[in-house]
Each structure stands twice: as C-alpha cells, then as structure tokens.
Symmetry: C2
Subunit: 282 residues, 2 copies
C-alpha cells in the first residue's frame, strides 16, 4: 500500500487556518483564546497540553491553562468550567478527560455552551451532526472525514468503521451520510467482522489494539485509515499492521504522522467556528 501524505493535508489546513485566525484576531482586537481545564496533578494532561500549545502558537492562538487540584470537589470543578465558559475573553473551552468523577462528564458537557464547545461534547452539537447541520464535530472524526474527502473517494462507497465511540464511529457515521457515503459501524460484537471489512471500499480502524488489522482483513484497492494510537516497546504504533499491508494494493495512513496531525488542526478549526459564531451573535 501507498502511504497517504497526511502531514501535507495537515499543512494545507494549517495554512488556511492561519489566514482565518489572523482575520479573526483583527476583528476581535485580541488573539483567539482557548481555555483548557485540566487536572493540575496529571502528568499525562500536562504533556498533551504542551504539544497542543506548540501547534496553537503557530496559528496565533493563546491557550489558557486552567487547572484544578486532585482535592477538588465535583462542585468546584463544575464551577471552574462554568466560569471559563462564561468569560467573554474565552472563545472556546475544552476539558481534559478522564475527569476524576466519571459522572461529572455529562454535567460538564451541559455547562459548556454549544458555541464554545471545541471538543464537541455538548449533546446539542452531537444532535446537529445527526441533523446534517454540523457546527463543531469531534476532531478525530473530522480528521478521518477530511482524509477520505482528500482521497477523492467516490460518493456512495461503503465505509466500514471499526469503532463505535462518540468521538469517532458514531459522529463519523453521520458525517459520512452528510457527504453521501454509506457507513457501516462495527464493533467487537459484529458478526463476521473480517467479512465486513473485506467488502468495504474504505476501512477506518480505531479499535485500540496494536496492529490488530492485517492484510487478511482488507481487499485489494481499499483505502485504510488508522485512527489507533498504541505504545509498544516505547514506539507509537497504530491498529493496522503496516508491514502486512505492503503485500496488497491500496492507500493507507501511517501511525504516527497520519490521522493525528490532521486531528490537531481540526480542533483549531472548531475553535475558529466557535469564535466566528460568537462574533456573529454580537
């Protein structure tokens, strides 16, 4: 298989976004601001945040860290999210998951206004995707969608998505319908899963299992999009066994350097939409 040049796709999107953010800054009279609420005691959050910040800076976006401590109560965390969300100097808000209280997730999703919801966790935004009135969408699903579109996949084609989460498979199925593709959403319980992927024109994998998908899952000429991120022996690998794919024709994304870089840009694209929508309302 040939490797799809996702860094170049990401680069193209980033250039466009840079222009749009410059215009936005002029209109706002200040740089765009993304507030990120994280657990100040989590090392994972901190490292993720650092890498996002670097990409954000290139677009002129200010990332404002808002941290809570490990001793914070539910009420306190919710209040922190509410406060950042209501500030007119914040254009978008996202919260790092997992939260210390799992039951807080849906409450947080209701507190972030739909037009500051850069991570697309508010039910209204999920609903708008289903209604073909997309505003923001989960960044990974958007990234997969961008790659499929940039590959010029024929309308009506079947796209098997091996992931049924609310951040990839579910919204992606609706986004595929919005663009005239034919989605099949698969999961661990799917009967004859390999048969389903073998018959699909495009296979999207986000199964969370390193190198799960080898050439036996895929037919000649298929487009394979790997949304997996696994660490094996200190190396980042996807859910697709890239080596195995070399024996068949088609095009695939690599990990790292595939879905990931485009996903980062999609998050910023959501921020742009949020900021523009708020300007429109003033």
């Amino acid at each position: 298989m040939e490797i799809i040049d996702c860094r170049s796709i990401a680069g193209g999107i980033s250039s466009n976004l840079k222009e749009e953010f410059d215009k936005l800054s002029d209109r706002l009279g200040r740089p765009p601001v993304l507030a990120v609420v994280t657990d100040g005691d989590s090392k994972e959050s901190a490292s993720y945040l650092r890498s996002r910040k670097k990409s954000a800076e290139k677009l002129g976006i200010v990332v404002r860290d808002i941290t809570y401590g490990s001793g914070s109560t539910k009420k306190e965390i919710l209040e922190i999210v509410r406060k950042s969300s209501s500030s007119s100097e914040v254009d978008g808000v996202m919260v790092s998951f997992p939260l210390p209280f799992p039951e807080l997730t849906s409450e947080v999703a209701d507190v972030i206004p739909w037009n500051k919801d850069v991570d697309c966790i508010n039910p209204r935004n999920h609903g708008l995707i289903m209604e073909n009135r997309e505003f923001v969408a989960p960044a990974t699903a958007m990234s997969v969608m961008k790659i499929i579109e940039s590959e010029g996949v024929r309308q009506g084609s079947t796209v098997a998505v091996v992931n049924r989460s609310v951040v990839i498979g579910r919204p992606l199925a609706m986004m595929l319908l919005n663009r005239n593709y034919t989605p099949i959403v698969c999961h661990t319980k799917t009967v004859d899963l390999k048969g389903v992927t073998q018959r699909a024109d495009v296979v999207v994998v986000g199964a969370g299992k390193a190198r799960l998908v080898d050439a036996s899952w895929i037919s000649e000429g298929t487009t394979v999009i790997d949304a997996g991120i696994n660490v094996v022996d200190g190396h980042v690998v996807g859910d697709v066994d890239q080596e195995s794919m070399s024996s068949i024709s088609g095009r695939m994304t690599s990990v790292p350097g595939g879905v990931g870089p485009v996903t980062t840009q999609m998050l910023f694209s959501n921020l742009l939409k949020c900021a523009e929508s708020q300007l429109g309302n003033r």
Copy 2:
C-alpha cells in the same frame, strides 16, 4: 415469508402503557396532556390528528389541539409553540409538519424543551441518542427497534437501513449500536445497494417508493421491516413487494398493520417519559 404480528406487539406495549399512564394520572392529579400544534386549515393534519386522538383516548391521554391559521406569521406560530411548551399543564408538545415556513423547523425544535419533546425534534435529544443516553427518540425508529428486539435478532447482526432521514435511518443507526447491532445506512447514492441488502441479516426499508424492494434484494432467512407508507389506487402499500417475498424464507412486517401501529404507541411512550421526567424535576 411469515408476517410478523405487529398488532400483537403494539397491543402488548399499549397494555403496559395503560398501566403506567394510570399511575401517572394519579401522581399528576389530572390526565396526561399532549399538545399538538397544527395548521387549522390543513385537512391532512386534521385526519392524522383524529386517528392519533382515538389511540390516545384509550390510554387516558388528553390531546389538546392548538391550531394556527394559514395567515399566521412565523413569529405568531413560534409564539404559539412557546406558550404551549411553557404551560405546566402540558406534558408533551408536538408540531405537525411540514410547517408553512420551512426555515421555521429548526427554530421550533429549539423552542420545545427537551423534556416535552415527544416527537424528538430537539437537537439535544438527537445528541443523547448518539451518546447512548436515549431519552425520547423518533417514534418510527423506536418502532423498528422494538420489532427487531421482539424478533430476538442475534446481537452483532448486520442491519441494512434503506433510509437516511433524521426520523428513521440516522437515529436508528445509533439505537442499533446502543443495542450491539451492526448498522449500515444506505440511500439512493449507495453503490451496489442490492448487494448490501442481500448480505444483511435484517433489512429496514423506508425509501418512499411503493413495492420498491422485491425478492431479488433479499436473501433467504432475512428479517424485513417495512417502514414505507404509500397510497396506490386508493390502497395503502409499503416499500416492500409483499407478494414477491412469498417465494423466500424469513419474516417480514406488513403494511398496513406493521411498523405503523407500533409507532403510534412509541409516541405515547415518549409522552410518558417526558411527563415522568418533569415529575422527577418538581
């Protein structure tokens, strides 16, 4: 094919609902009330309303007609919906479609509170279905789901849905995932549509074309659910050619007397959920 006894499924649901609505009336101190906002000048609305009213009466539900005239402005219609929605003596609100102003649809959807939204048009309720936090759902999609479950279809089975609307195919795909099935959502642009339906374990059709689907679309042993309603020569027929299906094995719903009667009950089931949710909030 054998015909699935949907009237019996609907009857069972209706008996359960009757019990629940009796309990609800006791708690409310009054009968449950469904407000239906219709175009007073539309004959179609009136006839639809009459048939729904009869079914509602059996469950002790009061249907309150709220009509606007053909001369009403957008603002007036919106105000009528807002007023019914805010009344504490109304448990659920639905609006007859199409509205005289197409662009009013999304505004009306935002005016009906999510916990009075018996017709499931509010984006939040669509989003909750996607998040596997179903509250209400579109009644036809719920009906199809009920029939599939009552047939005891094996988890993981592939379900091809020939409909991608927001009232059937889209929410149904998410509801199928919520119950461990494998949805494929098809439409007019789907490449090799017949191949897709031939390979599916269950085929749901809502294509809006009388007798479109004949035995050449369907494999032996398939379950076929017909969500079509067409009038041909004064007779109501579905999207499936029932006669043609007699040559192959499997089970199918008929039209009339299939998805329809279950759909009616599902609407009332949504009303029950809405009323109970409001009681819970008091």
